[in-house]
Symmetry: C2
Subunit: 216 residues, 2 copies
DNA sequence: ACAAAAGTGTTGACTTTACACCCATGG
DNA sequence: CCATGGGTGTAAAGTCAACACTTTTGT
């Protein structure tokens, strides 16, 4: 059925995801280079237009797949962007999500039907992006900071588990803070988000560390 | 400009608000009775379809005005409802908000172009609602409960200020809890959301109470 | 002077912070 | 046996929960 009132027509929904990783103490975000108008040849966050037969998560996963080749990325709601003119094509509402993955464990398609490149950018080196994606990314980064303190969002970064000193570095990278080793461990354990796998990981020349995993 | 891909067409956005009040220890929600299809003659939350030339807040305020006569209601984001078939007419995404006002200080239009009635319903006596509005209301109530603990959302209930014992009853009504008077006062003051107006309110036969207001 | 509701302070329990020592490994 | 980084405990400070008495007003 078609909408009668012309004011109801020509509206669409963008689903956008800021996919983060943490590498050597740097928080990075995955950007793709657009092949098509509008904003042809500009860098952009991953995402695109929702189809009218998709719910939000389904459409977002399709867009992630189409533009990066990645499958089953866990995403978390971040915010809504409703500027009337945020797209030059037609009125598009953007619904923004965040995700986080280990960039060394995945391979990203650099060339797809709609993209001509894909790169991880350290967040302080992000260029001018298509649409209002710089804004969206900014707010996504804030969401990331608050989510790692209360949810198991980092699970996707450590699918095989992690040691406490290892994940502490990740927290410190994302939040730009330093924490006391002993108190950090206690606090993280008290959050009841992780459990001891009762296995140990050996490093070169150091005492082996306990391996933990996030609960579901 | 029209979207090319038919999957991009026929999508719309509902802006929906659960407007609450608290009266004699009861949390109530404002419902309107629909005059038109779909869901003709059913009760529903306030809201409707966003126009393509409106941002979310503007569209929401217009809908509130059209269906209740109320102006300038402060609203807070609550959630998104993306079921593909949540509207029988076409694919509609719903963006849900909450608001809270003093029902004794406003007058609600009972008959408008699109509504044939409007009533405050105690939340435990809410009937079957149009669309997925029962779901939306449920989640809105949870948002309300968490927002009163961290934001000044109750400001709109007490535009002229409040005494601590008075607002404590409101907290207790919404959260269904009882609190110690002394600890409640200390906690609320520590949140840094309110300030002492240095005036007092006299009640019949009681010690006068200090008047506080929410900060902006 | 009494009833009704408002205002205030203290103690113990718990949580959070700061901080120092011992342990396991590889070289 | 030494260097590196991992693991743990404790004391002091701060926060939160429980609780009782005093104040102001109208009658």
């Amino acid at each position: 059925m078609e909408a009668a009132n012309p004011l109801y027509k020509n509206q669409g929904i963008h689903v956008i995801v800021s996919i983060f990783t943490v590498e050597k103490g740097k928080t990075k975000v995955l950007l793709i280079k657009r092949k098509n108008e509008p904003f042809k040849n500009m860098w952009a966050l991953v995402g695109g237009s929702l189809y009218n037969n998709e719910n939000l998560d389904f459409g977002l996963q399709r867009e992630i797949m189409e533009k990066t080749g990645l499958k089953n990325i866990e995403t978390y709601f971040s915010g809504i962007f409703d500027d009337i003119n945020r797209s030059p094509v037609m009125r598009m509402l953007a619904i923004s999500y965040i995700g986080i993955i280990d960039n060394e464990k995945v391979s990203i398609l650099k060339d797809t039907f709609k993209t001509s490149n894909a790169e991880w950018f350290p967040i302080e080196l992000v260029p001018d992006l298509a649409y209002d994606h710089n804004n969206i990314l900014n707010s996504a980064l804030n969401s990331l900071k608050s989510k790692i303190l209360t949810t198991n969002i980092l699970k996707s970064l450590f699918p095989n588990g992690f040691t406490i000193p290892e994940i502490q570095k990740t927290y410190e990278s994302i939040l730009n803070e330093k924490y006391d080793r002993r108190n950090f461990r206690r606090k993280l354990l008290n959050l009841d988000l992780i459990y001891d796998t009762k296995t140990e990981i050996k490093f070169e020349g150091n005492k082996p560390a306990k391996l933990y995993k996030f609960k579901d």
